[in-house]
Amino acid sequence: MSQADKDTTDFGYKEVPKGDKVKHVADVFHSVAAKYDVMNDLMSGGVHRIWKKLTIEQSGARAGMKVLDIAGGTGDLTLRFSRIVGSSGRVTLADINDSMLKVGRDKLTDKGAIANIEFVQANAECLPFPDNHFDIITIAFGLRNVTDKDAALRSMQRVLKPGGKLMVLEFSKTDNPMLSSVYDFYSFNILPKLGQIIAGDGDSYQYLAESIRMHPDQETLKSMMIAADFVNCKFQNMTGGVVALHTGIKP
């Protein structure tokens, strides 16, 4: 049975009614928004900056392009894209969660990045943009929180220009047993405690660890992208597969 045919969906290790996942995920991000950047740096030891930098470099972004950063959160990718596309380009930061959007907007305003950025509260499954509109779409650490990932990929395909590039940066599966066991221990024993101490919310970080395990592995996500009519789909593992960068082109 495909994801679209079921009435329930995963929320971490729990099965919840499809309609409820958005609310559950929203609660998680409302709770952690204020400490999101600090937690990212702490959890990954700053390595998330390298993953994002590699994504930017492989995007092929240049001056004048239109870029959509879905689940853009606190705007790390948006900030870098806005500098590359310049005044003749445009970056749209879309996030379903208004708390994250507010934190992102404040952060980017403080950094002086406002002229070529717009902020849109949007659900990735039904993006409120015209067809064939963007040159590049990125979704970094967001796809696993989407209820219907197939619908989201189809929606991204629709708003992307022919020849445009989709980039999905997401936690994935390691194929190294040693790394896997260390990673599991870290995710389920240390991460929730860090979340409790720093963000005052251990449950949200328990969900983070569970949602990563429930997210499709590299090959499955690649086949989902192909099914959504992307071509030249490929993925690049980073940090031993802890994170993978999937790319696909709209034909």
């Binding site: 390298i50 470099e57 492989q58 240049r62 870098r80 310049g86």
Partner: protein, 207 residues
Amino acid sequence: MLQTAVILLLEGSINKLLQTDEVTCQALAGLNGRVFEFNISDAPVHFYLLPYGGGIALQQQFDASVTASFKGSLKDFSQLLLAEDKATELFGNGVLISGDTHQAGKLQKIIGSAQIDWQGLTAAVTGDLLAHQLANVFNAGNRQLAITRHSLELNIGEYLQEEIQLLPARAEVQGFVADIDDLNQDGERLSARLDLLQAKIQKAAQT
């Protein structure tokens, strides 16, 4: 990954320095959207520099055409960094520029006129008073170093030329070189006249 980490660190450090110089930050905004490629020929260093208002972004990869490329050896680029007159070093000494040289010149001018507020940066760690004193000590040390270097150059030159007479004086060498140039030019003129004469003789013999 490691190279990206190094690039990130470098980018962050450069931007921190640039943020102490508001004029440079504003000037960089004028180059927003341009991409400059740097290629160091004798080291595995190749990167792209993307200026924006407030700093620069460094990338290892850029999949489109660049505004201008700079190519040179590590020595050429290090001379450029240390030179007081950066325009001369950039355009006259080994750094090869291709692409839009007007924009490359703009970037060079911005780099050349950047004034990093080292005292301000130190003050953020040590406090104003100590930073000012450290800056005074540093500036006095720099001045003394320049005087010592100049004096050493004069003394070594004098020792080599006057004391042990190993090298001729500069004016003597310059005169000798000028004589060689004159002789060379005279030789070329003579050769040209002989060629002309030979051509006239051949023409007369044919008629």
